[in-house]
Point group: C2
Chain length 435, copies 2
C-alpha cells in the first residue's frame, strides 16, 4: 500500500506546493531527484506550448538533486526546484537579459538572490524568459491558459512556468508592473516586496530607483517560505491575523481604464471580504498621490540611456525599436531637474500614502486592466502597477476569477512600506476568505 500511495504522490510531485514538498523531502517520502524529474517530465510535455525557459539545466539540476539527496538538509528550500528570471545572473547557466547582445553571456558569479536560495538548498532548474532588459520587447513565452495570449511581462517565463506547474517557485523583477501583472495574467500568486527588501546585487539594472526583485508561487505560504530564503532571514510561517483587516478599495485615478471583468473582480472580492468580517470602504487617493504614475515614468525613462549606456553605445543595432523609443529616446528628453523633481515627489508621496495606513490595513485594487490581451507582441499595460512601484509599497496579487474569455483575473493587495510580513499574513487571510 505504502509504495502505491507513494507512487501516486510522486506522479503529482510538480503539483504540490513548496511547503508540502519540503515536508515530503524532510520525511523521506520524496527525493529531490524525483521532484526534479517530475518537473522535467511535465516540462517535456508542455514546453513547446508555453516556452517559459530561456535555459533549462536538465543535467545540472538532476546532479544537484542527487547531491542534495546524499547530504544533510541545507535549509528552507532543500531540494526545491526554482526558476530565475534571466535578468538575474547565475554562475553556471547563461544569462541573456533577453537581448541578443548577451546571447553568449556567462556571468562569473551568482546574483545575491540566486546564491541565497541555493545556500538554502534550492535547485536552479533554469532561467526563465524575460523581455529585453526587463522592458517591453517580448520573448517567446505564451500564456499557459491560452497560447494566443500574452503571459504578461517582463517576468514572462517565471509567471508562466509557475502557473503551468513547470516549477513551483520563481523570481521576477518589477520596475513598472513586471512581477504583478504577469502573475495576474497567468493566475498565480505574485509578490513585489517593499523596494530594496530582496537584495538586487547581480541583477541587470533597469531603473535604479525602482528595480525590485519579486517572487512567484502558487500559494501565499510558499511566498513566505521563498521570501525568508531570498532575504536570508529566519522563516516565520504565515500567522493568523488577530481580526479581519480594514480594507480600502481603491480604483485609483485610472478607474475608467479598467475592464468590466477587472472592476467586477475587485467589487466581488470586496463584497466577499466584507462578508467574512473585514471592514471595507472605498477610498480616493489623496493629492498629490492620486496622479503620480508620471513619477514612475520619469524615473524609468531617465535611467534608460544611463543604465543601458554601454548597449546603446556599442550595440545600438541589436536593440529593439521599443527599447530605443521607450527608454533611450524618451529618456533623452527628460532633463535633470525633472528627474530630481520626480525623486522628491516620491518622498512626498510615500509620506502621504503612509499616513493613510493609520486608518486602513491594506489596499485592495486591480493588478492589471483585466484578462491577458490577445497576441504576443505586447505584454499588457502597467497602469495599475506604476503608482505602487513608484511609492515602494509591497504588493501581492492573488488569482480570483475568470474573465469573459476564460483567462485568469486577479486582485491586488497593497500594504504599507516595510510591512511585508503583515501584508502576506493578510493575503493568506484574504485567500482563505475568497476560497
Amino acid at each position: 500500500m505504502l509504495l502505491a500511495a507513494m507512487m501516486a504522490t510522486m506522479a503529482a510531485l510538480n503539483t504540490l506546493t513548496a511547503t508540502e514538498l519540503a515536508q515530503h523531502i524532510d520525511s523521506g517520502t520524496a527525493t529531490a531527484e524525483k521532484v526534479v524529474r517530475a518537473h522535467l517530465d511535465h516540462i517535456d510535455k508542455r514546453d513547446d506550448d508555453v516556452l517559459a525557459w530561456s535555459h533549462l539545466a536538465r543535467d545540472a539540476a538532476l546532479e544537484t538533486a542527487r547531491m542534495l539527496d546524499r547530504g544533510p538538509r541545507r535549509g528552507l528550500l532543500h531540494g526545491i526546484p526554482m526558476g530565475v528570471k534571466d535578468i538575474i545572473d547565475s554562475h553556471d547557466q547563461p544569462t541573456t537579459y533577453g537581448s541578443p547582445i548577451y546571447k553568449t553571456h556567462q556571468p562569473l558569479a551568482d546574483a545575491a538572490t540566486v546564491a541565497l536560495a541555493r545556500g538554502a538548498g534550492a535547485i536552479l532548474l533554469g532561467k526563465t524568459v524575460t523581455t529585453e532588459f526587463a522592458n517591453r520587447h517580448p520573448g517567446p513565452t505564451r500564456n499557459p491558459h491560452n497560447p494566443a495570449h500574452t503571459p504578461g511581462g517582463s517576468s514572462s517565463g517565471s509567471a508562466a512556468a509557475v502557473a503551468d506547474f513547470q516549477v513551483m517557485l520563481a523570481t521576477g523583477t518589477q520596475t513598472g508592473g513586471s512581477v504583478i501583472r504577469p502573475a495576474a495574467f497567468c493566475g498565480v500568486v505574485g509578490y513585489k516586496p517593499s523596494y530594496g527588501h530582496f537584495p538586487t546585487a547581480g541583477m541587470k539594472a533597469n531603473t535604479e530607483w525602482l528595480d525590485t526583485i519579486g517572487a512567484y508561487a502558487r500559494t501565499v505560504e510558499d511566498i513566505a517560505l521563498f521570501r525568508a530564503a531570498l532575504m536570508a532571514i529566519p522563516f516565520a510561517p504565515i500567522a493568523r491575523i488577530a481580526s479581519p483587516p480594514r480594507v480600502a478599495v481603491c480604483f485609483t485615478h485610472h478607474r475608467d481604464e479598467l475592464s468590466p471583468e477587472g472592476t467586477k473582480a475587485v467589487n466581488d472580492a470586496a463584497a466577499a471580504l466584507a462578508k467574512s468580517g473585514a471592514e471595507v470602504k472605498e477610498i480616493e487617493l489623496p493629492a498629490p498621490v492620486r496622479d503620480m504614475t508620471q513619477g514612475q515614468k520619469t524615473l524609468s525613462a531617465f535611467d534608460g540611456p544611463r543604465a543601458h549606456a554601454d548597449e546603446a553605445r556599442r550595440f545600438p543595432h541589436l536593440l529593439s525599436e521599443s527599447l530605443r523609443k521607450d527608454k533611450l529616446e524618451a529618456g533623452a528628453k527628460i532633463d535633470y531637474a525633472t528627474w530630481v523633481a520626480a525623486r522628491k515627489l516620491g518622498d512626498t508621496g510615500r509620506a502621504a500614502v503612509d499616513a493613510l495606513f493609520d486608518d486602513i490595513d491594506v489596499i485592495l485594487t486591480a493588478p492589471a486592466k483585466g484578462e491577458a490581451p490577445l497576441g504576443l507582441e505586447r505584454t499588457g499595460d502597467a497602469t495599475f502597477n506604476l503608482l505602487w512601484t513608484y511609492l515602494w509599497m509591497p504588493c501581492v496579487t492573488l488569482p480570483f476569477a475568470k474573465g469573459p474569455i476564460g483567462l485568469p483575473v486577479g486582485i491586488q493587495l497593497v500594504g504599507r512600506q516595510h510591512e511585508d510580513v503583515r501584508l502576506l499574513d493578510m493575503a493568506a487571510w484574504v485567500q482563505g476568505a475568497l476560497a
Copy 2:
C-alpha cells in the same frame, strides 16, 4: 617659437587640468595621443612608488587616443584619460573587485559610468586599485606624498593616481567614506554626489542603500566637467555664487575623535571664509541626526552576507578575515527589524537635516580625522563620513593644509540632498577664498 612653446606645454600635459586639456585638444595645441603618452611616461617613473593601478591599458589607451585624434570631437571629455576604480566593470579591461576570486574576471559590458564617459570621448587609461570589494582589506597602493602611509580607501588607487598626476580624472565609490577620505589623505578634490545621482549599473554591489559612485580631480571645475559626462547631462561650468554662503561649521557628535590638525583645518578654513564675507556659525546637529552613524553601520553590515552571498558560499577561503568579520559575521548578527528601523531612521534623518538648510547653505566639517595614518594595513577611519553617506547628502573635500608630518589635511563641504550643482559652485568659491 610656436613649436618650442608647444613642446614646453607637452612636457607638462599631465599636470594640466581636464578643463585646460580639453581646450588644448580642441584648439589643436595637444593631441590625445600626446596626452596619453605624457601620463604613461609619468606613470613609468612613479608606478613602483605608488602602485595605483590594478590594470594599466597602455596600448589600448594609445590606440583609442589615435582613433580620437583622427575623428570629430566626441564630447566633453574628448581625449581626456581617466582612471576607473576596479569595482566598476569595463568590457575591455579586467575587473577584479580587489579580490582573488575575480582575478581572471573580464566583464562583457561597461558599467554605465564607464560607457557614458567613453561616449563623451574619455580614454580609459586603466583600472585603479580598490580594497577588497570596496571594503576594508587594502590593496598595495601607497600615499604618493609618503609611501609609508595609506592613501585611504576603498578608492585607494583613484585618489593616489589623481594626486600623483598619473591621471586627471578618476571615479571611486563611497558606502562609508571611500571617496572623501582617500581624497583628503592624498590631497585632491573628491566628490560624493547625492545618493543615486551617478548611475551605478555595472558596479559591484556593497550596500545597496548607500553605494554611491563619486569622482576625483584636482580642481572643482574638473569635477563639474566630469560630473556632466558621468550623468549624461548638459555641462554647465561652475557659476559664481550671488553672495558668500551661510556656512555651518559642524564637528559632529565625534568632535573629540578629531586630530589637532583636523580641528585646526576646519577652524582655520572657517575663519578664512568669514574674512571673505561668509556668514559662519557653529551648529550642533539636531536629535535624532546627531548620532546616526550607527544607521550606516547597520545597513552596511546587513547587506554583507547578502550582497556577497555567492562569494561567501563558494569561495569563503578567498575572502579576507576583515571581510568575514566586518561584513559577514557582523551582518549575520543584525536582524531584519533592526535593518528596517535603520531604513526608517534614514527617512527621519533626511527630513530633519533637510530642514536645516532653510537657514544655512553648506556644512563645513572634517573629511577625516586628520592626516593619513602610518602603515598600509588599514585605510583609516570613516567616522567623519558615515553620517553624510547615510543621509545621502552630496559631499566635496578640498585640499587645504599640511599636518605635522607634512601630509595633506582637507576640509569637507556637505550640501543639501539633490543640490549638487549649488554645492560645487560653493566649493569653487571656497577654494578661491582659501587660496
